[in-house]
Symmetry: D4
Subunit: 256 residues, 8 copies
Amino acid sequence: MIEETVISKAIIESYIKDLLASVESDVIIGGAGPSGLCAGYYLAQKGFRTLLFERGLKLGGGLPGGGIMFNRIVVQDAAKSMLDEFGISYQEYQPGYYVANSLETTACLTNKAIKAGLRIYNLISIEDVIVREKSVNGVVINWSSVELAKLHIDPLSFKSKIVIDATGHPCEIARIVERKSGGKLLTPSGKIEGEKSMWAEVAEQLTMENTKEVFPNLYVTGMAANAVFGGPRMGPIFGGMLLSGKKVAEIVIDKL
Amino acid sequence: MIEETVISKAIIESYIKDLLASVESDVIIGGAGPSGLCAGYYLAQKGFRTLLFERGLKLGGGLPGGGIMFNRIVVQDAAKSMLDEFGISYQEYQPGYYVANSLETTACLTNKAIKAGLRIYNLISIEDVIVREKSVNGVVINWSSVELAKLHIDPLSFKSKIVIDATGHPCEIARIVERKSGGKLLTPSGKIEGEKSMWAEVAEQLTMENTKEVFPNLYVTGMAANAVFGGPRMGPIFGGMLLSGKKVAEIVIDKL
Amino acid sequence: MIEETVISKAIIESYIKDLLASVESDVIIGGAGPSGLCAGYYLAQKGFRTLLFERGLKLGGGLPGGGIMFNRIVVQDAAKSMLDEFGISYQEYQPGYYVANSLETTACLTNKAIKAGLRIYNLISIEDVIVREKSVNGVVINWSSVELAKLHIDPLSFKSKIVIDATGHPCEIARIVERKSGGKLLTPSGKIEGEKSMWAEVAEQLTMENTKEVFPNLYVTGMAANAVFGGPRMGPIFGGMLLSGKKVAEIVIDKL
Amino acid sequence: MIEETVISKAIIESYIKDLLASVESDVIIGGAGPSGLCAGYYLAQKGFRTLLFERGLKLGGGLPGGGIMFNRIVVQDAAKSMLDEFGISYQEYQPGYYVANSLETTACLTNKAIKAGLRIYNLISIEDVIVREKSVNGVVINWSSVELAKLHIDPLSFKSKIVIDATGHPCEIARIVERKSGGKLLTPSGKIEGEKSMWAEVAEQLTMENTKEVFPNLYVTGMAANAVFGGPRMGPIFGGMLLSGKKVAEIVIDKL
Amino acid sequence: MIEETVISKAIIESYIKDLLASVESDVIIGGAGPSGLCAGYYLAQKGFRTLLFERGLKLGGGLPGGGIMFNRIVVQDAAKSMLDEFGISYQEYQPGYYVANSLETTACLTNKAIKAGLRIYNLISIEDVIVREKSVNGVVINWSSVELAKLHIDPLSFKSKIVIDATGHPCEIARIVERKSGGKLLTPSGKIEGEKSMWAEVAEQLTMENTKEVFPNLYVTGMAANAVFGGPRMGPIFGGMLLSGKKVAEIVIDKL
Amino acid sequence: MIEETVISKAIIESYIKDLLASVESDVIIGGAGPSGLCAGYYLAQKGFRTLLFERGLKLGGGLPGGGIMFNRIVVQDAAKSMLDEFGISYQEYQPGYYVANSLETTACLTNKAIKAGLRIYNLISIEDVIVREKSVNGVVINWSSVELAKLHIDPLSFKSKIVIDATGHPCEIARIVERKSGGKLLTPSGKIEGEKSMWAEVAEQLTMENTKEVFPNLYVTGMAANAVFGGPRMGPIFGGMLLSGKKVAEIVIDKL
Amino acid sequence: MIEETVISKAIIESYIKDLLASVESDVIIGGAGPSGLCAGYYLAQKGFRTLLFERGLKLGGGLPGGGIMFNRIVVQDAAKSMLDEFGISYQEYQPGYYVANSLETTACLTNKAIKAGLRIYNLISIEDVIVREKSVNGVVINWSSVELAKLHIDPLSFKSKIVIDATGHPCEIARIVERKSGGKLLTPSGKIEGEKSMWAEVAEQLTMENTKEVFPNLYVTGMAANAVFGGPRMGPIFGGMLLSGKKVAEIVIDKL
Amino acid sequence: MIEETVISKAIIESYIKDLLASVESDVIIGGAGPSGLCAGYYLAQKGFRTLLFERGLKLGGGLPGGGIMFNRIVVQDAAKSMLDEFGISYQEYQPGYYVANSLETTACLTNKAIKAGLRIYNLISIEDVIVREKSVNGVVINWSSVELAKLHIDPLSFKSKIVIDATGHPCEIARIVERKSGGKLLTPSGKIEGEKSMWAEVAEQLTMENTKEVFPNLYVTGMAANAVFGGPRMGPIFGGMLLSGKKVAEIVIDKL
């Protein structure tokens, strides 16, 4: 016998219990694209209480669309071992270039990260950050449907020791901090530098260098790293995003 | 050294090679919600050439949103073994009711289905079906971005022996057949009956009965089955959808 | 010292505790216009566990706009005592016609109803009803922002012994039942009759007659009553809505 | 016997009589959120002719939505006595933190303010201010539906000795003055400073300091105060808004 | 010395005094296109208390656009004398065809009608009619900006002995009566017949025949007459509309 | 006998003959609000070949809406004689303040201006100006429907000795010149100063002073004059606009 | 020396001279897709005064988009000679299947048709038809930008002996006739039958049979033919459209 | 016999083969207006591997709309020989001014360019450029439907030796380079200068001067040239665009 009210209670109770336990955490990641999921996997695996807030209903960022809607991605040699780590199938196209299915890649990243303990909250947008004496101490969140529906509803606060901006091109969290803290980011100009035109080779390399702290306790990874520090746009090659996600996890683990 | 043009060629070639091989197949599934992915998994596992076309960028249908944006789903006893089959974690809420993470569930269904050999094409919508002497022989597809952008572009045809409508409430493929074939569906009224109000217990049972052929070579599964044959709405309980996906696969395998 | 996380926890815990206690109730009212708030007040006052779901962010329906944005309403003699009951100020315009401020009226109805024990959930829409053997047994709800944002998210079920449709002209709950149960409403035609043109005198009288059961366990009140049973449109006079709200409460109390 | 034309006349006459009497007043408040209603209550209570113009159909600003659509608010110790003043029910969550229903709070603020004599005009937007020799002397208003409907209709002028900007984050009136008077506001930069990121403790304190005159005869209160003078964002805690509303009333009373 | 508040009071008082005097009248016309203005002119000229409600900000209906945005209109011999009556300039194009400026035509119709005593209320839409014992007794109006802004605000009622539908193709008032009175119009089918394809010669003639009563106390004129009684579409020739406006005035004068 | 093709030819021929004769003229006015119509009247009356391009379908600018949709306007003593000149009815509200019907005012201005010889082209927008050696020599026009329909269609050029910007607040023509000529307007800053907040008394006076040349051969009138030269917003009093329109005509006549 | 006004006059005069000469013609075609252009070519080549009205800015209908945005089309053996006739390049893909560039095809059809004497008016929509004694005698047209801009502007009439509906799936002209003439089309049901699902082989054959008269003096061609007479959808193969365009020209030539 | 799957394969294979061959080329042109098509014609004719990416479904830019929707264009003496080169018909309006049909002109340019070997890809937008050591080395493209549908999908890269910006007023490619390379364009200010007001005579001349390199390996032509280098707007005369397209081809041929 299936009773509707038991289902309602089961869903509400299990979700809210989890949500309440997340009001304070070690790390909050914004954005469930490849670098965000990757960072979350490595952090959760090490036992850190890690949350990921994603604005959309579904995960993966732009990854599932592959290149121009052809659902394949390419990964270079340097990141091949990460495909193995996440259990993603691939084929060699030409020495040093591996092709994978973008939908399978999204599923494997998600599955591994959640099983490692990452708490993912989809349909949530980050409206603001919590600051204390010029350092970031958490985020201020709301349902993204509130924003889409153009409703005026107050948000709630979630505290954490570290925040990671993995929101891609828009680098939304860094942008909030730039606008609301007077613009003193740890970049050459103190502001968001903006992504440069495409140069795949250089981009892959600079992404790794740009994966770092941009404001006390706020880190950037993936495309957000290049957008904030002015690196060139990456080609439709996903190795750099996975490696950047891994790197930001390592830096944060060192700090915690 | 990473060369942009190699990446472009790798993505175009690997996707198009796959697409050309799919112009003719055994089974075409419309819709990547839980029942469509589940059906695809069981069909591909048995070696049938199976495609799945999904209109959206990402997979899972309404599954990732859980119940009212609380990302949890409930599965009843009857479907518990399927959670194990797909490697989905769960917790018992109360005897006979199991709670799982809706995002992990989506990822596990996707991952297993693709690894079993299911070819999933996202961002594609089904505009029409191919008919021959009053039976369905394939589908007529287009990029869903063409539809969203309100462009007027001609579609292409993909043939298959069987078509499965797993598009949920809208039962889009059955609706095309109803509109363009004079309305003689294998339902009591010869037309789409329309979903009835919620009655979880009865719905779960009727979904299984309604999982069947609705027009020569066209089958319905999941919520589309209840929408077409007039079953009640299911509660936010996903066991029925998984079981219906498995059942439609078994029926189709018998027929092929 | 004010701590953001305590505020977050306080809001989540107190709201969810209340929501969980509402999964099963005596009466569910749809719509927070004058008749819905009035019905809720009288039911809660008698100790029945009564919920009210309102799609909008704010309460009062069309009441706060008065007539053509002039924020005044008129109440006739028959309903004058109800203004006193709710503590609403008024002035006599002409014998038998009393003018009140539409914003104060909204506030007084809301305040009294909540203090009497009515549990109001704003920002929630009713998507469907629960049925058992051709009678209504509760409602299926979702965040209205989900609908506004055109997201596809599954709803949850809330059970109750009685449901009251106080959604005004659109008579949304009766319309769901008409569409999803084969149309056998307790009206002359078995369908929604539709509101007739304005005739204030007759409308006030017929509203009271039309305030009744329209399907087993489903009642209509206020403008929804005239819309369902084909009464004429009421003039911008609010007495009928208050009286109808009171009447539906009395009928339901008798039945429970 | 109910006659439609009497109702029409009653509504038009009573509203317009009130409106004509408001063309000249002591204080005009813009925005019916918690601080605006609170300021209006204290001013009207002291016998000052006070108007409040609200762009929306309904009152309360973002208050009715609670935190992330969970309709509860939290008030700290310092503002607890104001809950009592307005007759708002509450429960202690933890020492120093009181939880109230956001819908009841809105209703109580509205009811008390109107009964104290505050004249509230909803559905009206403030398009401009009246200035004389570099001081504000009233506002220029229009129906907000004119703006929503993108019609080009001329406004009308309402004079007052004092204007209070209680429009929240957008601080709309201060922004008009900044744009149309050359930008010499009484802020450090002479311009609107913009709200800083969230720091609940500090915000509550600074809100009180920022509640003051921002241009001759123009005062700011609530979230508008922090937006104009660059204070941090308040947490979803409403005590500060109530206290700021009370404070601005006291300052203005002193001046008049 | 110019005082803003005097201007505000002058506009409010003069408009509202006029509006209150219009709550009861002899004739209400809906629509300020050529036939509505023409009918209003002849009725007001004879001393009947006549109102005209126009949804738009400005008058003239489609007249100012001439034909395909070329601001000229053509009038045939039969209506030439009406151009003289309204003081409209014209030139003979070919025997029996006179060309006039569509903007001057609009201005002359408006000017003459208002000077004759017609009370025109622009920016008002007719939402419903008042009925008594199956006859029309007035209209239910609202600001059209309310409709455009998608606000839910109650209307007010204005009574009259006669109502004239001059709303053109949409024949909005007849359509309200059809929908809300069970569809018994005085047309062959009892319903709105719908305009037929263009046949200028026949259309001009039938328009005059179709200018008559369509429901007790409701008359149609101009394009609304052909739309209701199924006459052919008129060519871009305006004589028929002016003559129809004159004729409906004569019929109504006879009846009053 | 009425022949559709004769009507088509009559409209096309008479409009195009007029349009071709307008390709070169003495004065082009942009905007058919009160000051534009007034300027056009005085210029045409003196025999200058004068055109007026209006973006909208209908004339009058914001005039027909009166104040907050109450269709009345107020004119002060100084402009009373102009009401007589245009044959507009009025009533004295209080010494020095005259109330007129805004719809009749629009009609009278239009009628008189066209009869005086002004060529008005409605539905046309001014996209650019023609320049020669840093002076304006005409305008570049297009159908405004092209703009509304977001089509990309090239415009045509119309030359004239003088151009008058009567487009109100947006001062569209001056803005084009500012943007496309490097910003050297004949204003204090060389740029558009922007309208200041309302001060009716001062505004009426400054409007007259600001009615002048803003760039070689380009003049501003009415609200555009205050917007360009930074005068305060006028109250809803139309005398200043009429007087400004008359004044710009006089200045231009002197120059020609 | 280039003078802007000469350019303006040259464009206006040459277009309008052509337009006036088109007010009466032999054949009017609606729609500039492949079948409409093809029909226009053959008719104009034989010396018939033929016009084509196209709603869009550019020609070719859905042809330029090829299949799913891949700009290639396929033509079968039967229509190969037409590619030669229009000077279109092609390559044999497989015996009996020829591939051509969809952009070159569009250009060749357009170029040949205009050079043969077809008068094409783009940006024009057909709003209605002219009827006389139950036969079509021309069309009623307007700028399509008027429709897109949602303006209410009257159309003009263009007469012809024959009208051809080449508007594709929507079969817009036949639909106007169905709606405005009581529905007696020369189809089995007297109404538009609606296109059936795809069956390329049968569709190509039935298109030729369905290319015929559907109402006195109104013919259908291309996809409109199948939509009106209920043939199956054509595959993305363009031979049938070209052949149907040629056939309708032959039938019409015989009749004239 | 026509088989749908053969058609699908023929279209996919022929398009993709062509696309893969275009991943590396000599010249990439952005924009299929008159200057882009003209440049492509001359480059392809000389045997250079030349691609043209066009965002729209159809070609010609604003050309098919003629002037204000009157589909004629004017060409001056200097460009008359180019009309002959492309086989475009024309008539002399007045010495030195030739009128042509804008639709035939578009078709002739397209036809000749494709036959000369230009590879045109419509429905593609250029999102970014590839850079190496401060020079442009190709473009980053995507389906324009992805942009229109607001999807977030990664692009692909196409390399070339030279890129030509022929996107008209928006000069989209130059704008990308300005934004993403720090703004050092080869213009006086180092930035995009912006188009000046119309001066046909001077514009035609300056367009030729401005047709040049604007960043290493990036050239501008047609209206983009004037927009980038600050030339005046051209009149609706197309000779300059054709001549500019020819000139940029000559410059690029010299360089390659």
